[in-house]
Structure formats: structure tokens, C-alpha cells
């Protein structure tokens, strides 16, 4: 119980939008719903609102506006939209990482989604690198990416195929 309260306080403080979750599953679902709304809003603005309403190419009786002005308007508005979207992405990712950290403190009974069962005799789950888990829960797995380098031979190496 104490852990649940602790988790709720952390998530509300850090997420700052009142994901009033009672358990991890609900919190994640609310965040997914929020992300869905962000994406919907973005696409609506991108494809409909900006080109047709904020920066239309024609006036109400069908006369064209100056194309340069229209384009400038659209690019500027798009820049604002992209900036906003980036902030939202950062927020969602940060919030999710917060929830994940908080959920790790919860008793297993409060997780709605069942964890996958390991195959009989499998030691797979014992071999998980906890350093990698830290990277993933940070929201970005950039540290796991490969390093791009200039080859030392004229043909380049022949990498293994996926």
C-alpha cells in the first residue's frame, strides 16, 4: 500500500498531468491514450487544419493567395507544430520511463498484463543484461546502436545478413 502511494505521487509529480492511475496497467493505458490524441491532433493539423484553415491557398471566393506567402505561412506554422510535437514526445517518453520505474516497485498482483512465461528449462530470463534494461527504460536505446565507421578496405566488409 505504501509503495502504491509512493508510485502515484511520483507519477503525478513527474508526469504533471494527472495520470491518476490505480495500477501500472491503467497508467500505461492512459498514457497510450494521451499519445494517441497527440498523434491524432498532429495529423489533423498537418493534413487538414494548416493547409485548409490556417494557411489556405485560396480565399473564400476562390481567388488564390500569393503562393509565397501561403508557403511561408505553412512552413512557419509547421515549425511550431513540430516543435510542440517534439515536446510532447519527450514528455510521453519521460513519463513512461517514470511509470516503468514506479511499477518496478509495485507488487506483481497489480500488473494487469501477464508477463510471458519462460519456456521449461530455459535460462533466457536469467541472462538478461540489467544494464541494457536501464538503457531501454530510459526511453531511448541509442547506446545499443552500432558505430558507423569508414571501412579500411576497398570493398568494405561483408556483414552478416539479418
Amino acid at each position: 500500500m505504501k509503495k502504491n502511494i509512493y508510485l502515484t505521487v511520483i507519477v503525478i509529480l513527474l508526469c504533471n498531468t494527472g495520470f491518476s492511475q490505480t495500477n501500472c496497467g491503467d497508467a500505461v493505458a492512459q498514457l497510450q491514450n494521451y499519445a494517441s490524441q497527440i498523434n491524432q491532433f498532429y495529423n489533423n493539423e498537418y493534413w487538414t487544419i494548416i493547409p485548409n484553415q490556417r494557411c489556405p491557398a485560396f480565399d473564400h471566393i476562390g481567388r488564390p493567395y500569393n503562393p509565397v506567402l501561403v508557403q511561408n505561412c505553412r512552413l512557419q506554422t509547421l515549425a511550431y507544430l513540430n516543435n510542440w510535437y517534439q515536446q510532447q514526445c519527450n514528455y510521453v517518453n519521460t513519463c513512461y520511463a517514470t511509470i516503468v520505474r514506479g511499477c518496478a516497485l509495485q507488487p506483481p498482483s497489480s500488473i494487469n498484463r501477464p508477463a510471458p512465461k519462460p519456456k521449461p528449462g530455459s535460462e533466457e530470463s536469467e541472462q538478461i543484461d540489467t544494464d541494457q534494461i536501464q538503457d531501454l527504460t530510459a526511453g531511448i536505446d541509442e547506446d545499443k546502436t552500432v558505430r558507423i565507421t569508414i571501412p579500411k578496405t576497398a570493398e568494405g566488409f561483408k556483414p552478416r545478413r539479418n
Partner: protein
Amino acid sequence: MRKLLRIICLIFLLFNILNFTSSSSSTRTAFCGFSLVGGKGGFYSSPQREYITKKAVTGDKSGLPEVVREIKKTLGFNVEIDIYIAKAENNCFATVGKGGARLLIADIDFLESVNNYAGTKWAAISVIAHEVGHHIAGFNHHESQLDDELDADYWSGYVLQKLGSSENAATKCILKFGTEQDTDSHPNKYTRAKTIESGWGDAKNGTIDYQRCENCKP
């Protein structure tokens, strides 16, 4: 053990959310399309939203700043290019940002897959060189965007020869992933390969086609 299983479950959910937030863009430039700049279609002639995670810096795990620095050094192109790492974009592109900042945005996983499928590590370098080539050649040097792309291809071939690539390796990426026919934004892969070979050949012969560059002087 139970804690680990819970974490696995949550990681799975994390990926769902990351994918969700980063996949809303409706259309993307095709694989090996390289540049989104100067698109003539749609409502905007600028790149769509891209999911950028961080700025690449010298010494980080991407290796990109070192590669770009080597390319610029090879070309004597002493202009600052800011490099950003994108995730889940399957793209690499060049553009000009606020205040005229020259930008190069790359998805490292994408570049790795380019290497793997092209069968040479020069493939990713050719993509990056192509993008740097856009900054050299200029984004609206020609009336046709296709010609702008060919300029960038020329510099890609030029750079790869200087860096030690074979002619065959320099064209592998485009021949693997390019299109059979011209598209609205890019020429067909055969024309592009020929242009890369032209740049590669000029580098080998110690000549430069200055018409491939907006502000270059002989």
C-alpha cells in the same frame, strides 16, 4: 525472477508507446531516398516531422561526427554541419535549419541495415556522403530536384574514391535500393550509379566537375 519478468513486460509496453509516438507521420521518403528537402508535392516543401533523439557529438557511440568530419576534410569543405540522431525513421537526410544551420539527420539502425543488405560497409558511408554532398551542391541548384540529387550522388562517388572505396562498392547501395524508374524526387538507380561512377572517376583522375556545386570555384 518475477521482477525480471515484470520488467520484460514493461519493456514490451515501452516499445509500443515509442512506436506509437514516432510513427504517426503519414508518408516518408522511400528507402535510400536520402533527402526530403525540396519536395514538390504535398502542402509543404520542407521535411516532415522527424523523430530526432539527440545531437551527435564527437566520441559518441554513433561514430557519425567522425565520419562527417573525415568526409569534409577529404573534400576541403570547411562548413559546420550539425548532426542529429533519429530513431525509427528509416531515413537519412540533409536540410537547412533555423538561422541557416546545416543539418544532417540520420537513423543509425537504418544505416546499419543499409550496410547489411548492400553487403558492404561503404553503403552507409555513401548515404552520409550523399547528404554532405547536398550541402556542398546546394539544395535548389537546379530547377529539377532530380538534378540536385545527381549532384549529391556525384559528391558521394567523389568522396568514396578519396576515402578508399572501390568503384563497385561506391554504387552498391544505390543499385541495391534505388528505383528502376525516375520518381518525383529521385532519378532511377542506373542514372544515379552512373553519376556516382562519374564522381568516383573524377576523384581518381584528380579532376572536379564544378558544375556539380553551387558555389565552388575552380
